[in-house]
């Protein structure tokens, strides 16, 4: 093989690998990602049943029903509420009236079948997505953020 041919082989190889990487990324971006949705958006515009979504909002007070590991509750943004079904263990900081993000799909009956539930990491943290969902629906009350106990020391 001449020098030129060798170089061309290399460039060809690089081209193939890059093209397949780009192809894979584009394919995955159309299929492998989850869009964020608020309860109002889901209520107004029910998504396709196989679309993966991240639903963010507050756990509606009084809506949590536990049947062993099967849990159902509603996520609300103050304007609309979406019923959520989940089987498994809830995060430590899952509470009624607190922010939550559920990931999963909406089934034919309109229930959100969640496979992952994320709650706050600590008492003062609210998932960013939830904050913005609430702001969008006008339900955002900044003071609701600081419901935790006062920090013990002088700083913060």
């Amino acid at each position: 093989m001449t020098r030129k041919q060798r170089r061309l082989t290399l460039i060809g190889l690089a081209g193939i690998v890059l093209a397949s990487a780009v192809g894979l990324i584009l394919f995955a971006l159309s299929d492998g990602i989850a869009f964020f949705a608020t309860p109002s958006e889901i209520a107004a515009n029910p998504p396709a049943p196989d679309r993966r979504l991240r639903l963010g909002g507050l756990v509606e007070t009084g809506s949590v029903v536990k049947d062993g590991p099967k849990i159902s509750f509603a996520v609300t943004d103050g304007k609309a509420a979406v019923p959520v079904r989940y089987t498994g263990m809830l995060p430590d900081l899952f509470r009624e009236g607190q922010g939550v993000v559920a990931e999963g799909k909406v089934d034919a009956a309109g229930n959100f079948q969640a496979d992952t539930i994320l709650a706050k990491h600590d008492e003062t943290y609210m998932p960013k997505e939830v904050v913005e969902a609430l702001k969008k629906s006008g339900e955002w009350r900044p003071e609701a953020e600081a419901t935790g106990p006062e920090p013990k020391s002088v700083t913060r």
């Binding site: 106990p149 006062e150 020391s153 002088v154 700083t155 913060r156």
Partner: protein, 369 residues
């Protein structure tokens, strides 16, 4: 002594930093240095070893040797040039090391650091002071008393120190011993009573009351005993008697008595009772053992503290909290409470000013030397 030492150490550190630049500048740089050639030479040796072990074929080894030799023969570009900048470079380096470096360090530090703030490890700030002098002093006296427990003067000396350090049990024992050995005086009885009161978390127990009574029998003008008698009356829950007792005490007090503001505050408090434990609670407390009383008092104080954290606008509440902590012999808690109040009331300067005043009145947050 320590601030001085701190500056000396900082100066020494600066000198080390400057020397790290100056020393190499002052020397003629060594000629010894690595170069690409040594690497190629190593590679040739490795090649030879691999060939001997049969890890590489003769033909490949020959080809590799030729290529490595070619690299070896190439002019060594990595070798640095001879001395360059010369004097000017050395002067530049000298300026950087001797002037700029200390200037940057000191300037930055003075704008960011707190050179006057001492270390405050927790061990030195909890009830026992880390003041080495006091600690050694106590140690010495205690040693002396172990050898000669009959030395009443030693016990008398230790009493107030223990009291100040919050070692109330020791204080009670010390005063008891002093009275037993040296005999009863009004001052000693009153101090014993105070120690007993402190031991009970600020409550004048029956033992304490007895001590104050003895003190007043010996000297009816004993301020300390009179003060605690008034406190004791207040703690029975009999409001009118308490008012009367405080008024008598204040009327007979010298104008510069250090406890006068406290007495006046107590009087005000009895006259305008703030929400808090009522007379029944206090009466109940009186019937409890010392431990129960202490627990109850501490429970009330922590309840108050928690309430204030939730509703910090209560200036009187803060004043009561500070007083409670000071009475309970917990000045650190009081300081912490003041700090919390400052945070909570940061947006309300007028309220904060009142709280600050209440704190100052109770001697909270007095600047440490």
């Amino acid at each position: 002594m320590e601030p001085m030492l701190q500056w000396i150490l900082m100066a020494a550190m600066t000198a080390v930093a400057s020397l790290a630049v100056l020393v190499p500048l002052g020397r003629r740089p060594a000629d010894a240095e690595g170069s690409a050639r040594s690497i190629y030479r190593d590679q040739l040796n490795e090649l030879e070893l691999e060939r001997e072990r049969g890890l590489i074929g003769e033909r490949e080894a020959e080809a590799a040797r030729i290529e490595l030799s070619r690299r070896l023969l190439r002019p060594d570009a990595t070798r640095s040039t001879a001395e360059g900048g010369g004097r000017r470079a050395v002067i530049a380096g000298f300026i950087v090391a001797a002037i700029l470096l200390p200037a940057i360090a000191l300037g930055t530090y003075l704008s960011l650091g707190s050179p006057a703030t001492p270390d405050q490890p927790l061990a030195s700030r909890s009830t026992v002071s880390a003041d080495a002098d006091i600690a050694t002093l106590i140690g010495k006296v205690e040693q002396h008393l172990r050898d000669d427990p009959g030395a009443g003067a030693g016990w008398e000396l230790l009493g107030p120190v223990y009291l100040k350090l919050g070692r109330f049990d020791d204080a009670v024992r010390a005063y008891g011993n002093a009275i037993r050995i040296l005999g009863s005086t009004a001052d000693r009885e009153a101090l014993l009573g105070e120690a007993l009161t402190s031991q009970a978390g600020g409550l004048v127990t029956s033992d304490a009351k007895a001590a104050f009574d003895r003190a007043l029998r010996l000297d009816s003008k004993n301020d300390r005993a009179a003060f605690y008698e008034a406190v004791a009356v207040g703690q029975t829950g009999d409001k009118d008697a308490a008012i009367a007792a405080w008024k008598t005490l204040i009327a007979g007090a010298p104008a510069d008595a250090p406890w006068l503001p406290v007495a006046q505050a107590e009087l005000r408090r009895v006259e305008n009772p703030a929400p808090g434990p009522n007379a029944a609670d206090m009466a109940a407390a009186a019937g409890q053992s010392a431990g129960e009383q202490q627990a109850m008092i501490e429970g009330m104080v922590s309840g108050l503290a928690a309430r204030l954290d939730g509703a910090p606008e209560d200036v009187d509440g803060w004043a009561r909290l500070f007083r409670a902590y000071m009475v309970l012999g917990k000045p650190d808690e009081a300081t912490a409470a003041l700090a919390r109040a400052r945070t909570a009331l940061a947006g309300k300067p007028d309220l904060l000013a009142q709280v600050e005043k209440a704190a100052a009145d109770n001697g909270v947050g007095a600047p440490k030397p």
